[in-house]
Symmetry: C2
Subunit: 115 residues, 2 copies
Amino acid sequence: MAITVDDERLDAMFAALADRTRRDIVARLSRGDATVTELAAPYAMSMQAVSQHIGVLERCGLVSRGRHRQSRPCRLEPEALEAAVSWMERSRRLWTERMDRLETHLAQLQDGERR
Amino acid sequence: MAITVDDERLDAMFAALADRTRRDIVARLSRGDATVTELAAPYAMSMQAVSQHIGVLERCGLVSRGRHRQSRPCRLEPEALEAAVSWMERSRRLWTERMDRLETHLAQLQDGERR
DNA sequence: CCGCTGCTCAAGTTGACGCTTGATAAAGCG
DNA sequence: CGCTTTATCAAGCGTCAACTTGAGCAGCGG
């Protein structure tokens, strides 16, 4: 089933975004590509740790790493966010549709009473 | 700083949605309110576990629990999704804006060459 | 009042995660 | 060729999250 695959993708995506260091990395990459050392600079943690964070983002498809001389430039892949966004909007849509149906139903009931 | 508060909220939100059981619960609640026992029925785990999952969803503002007789009806609070959705769309917007600037820049360069 | 249902609380286990340090690789530079 | 830079791999450690079981509590029904 495609549903299960999607589930795994969403698991990885949301889990990746559940860490503020990784969200910060994504935010900074949305401003432009950067190397691991550049990305690691602001944080009070080792470059290895940052590299691991980037690995998580890469595994869920949010970031891709290239090669240029000794450095590995990181680039954001924003289409990957679609999966997560569309999941959320589906839930929201279903809920509002349900509320709309409920409203029209109540309106009909009131109509019936009035007659 | 408001940024930090938002960060905590996003931490909780994304972490909550990183579990497929919880996403499933959200999806089912988007179709209509339900009690804990009803929500727990489809899963091969104890009701306590499901109650804990609902607790996670409640703590990040996605779900609210009321009281009716012995049961605790759960309701989705879809506005809470806004925080997460808008974070994602901000990243995506920044990235596409950057790409647009890059394109126009390249176009200008080509213009210069052509003359 | 007693027992049942619906649910939460508390404690314990197990596995995963975030980060560390140390070792390794690969590409420039003296 | 050694030395530095840039980055990954690997092992270990502490913490947290997802379950479990067992107990406790509030409403309802005999």
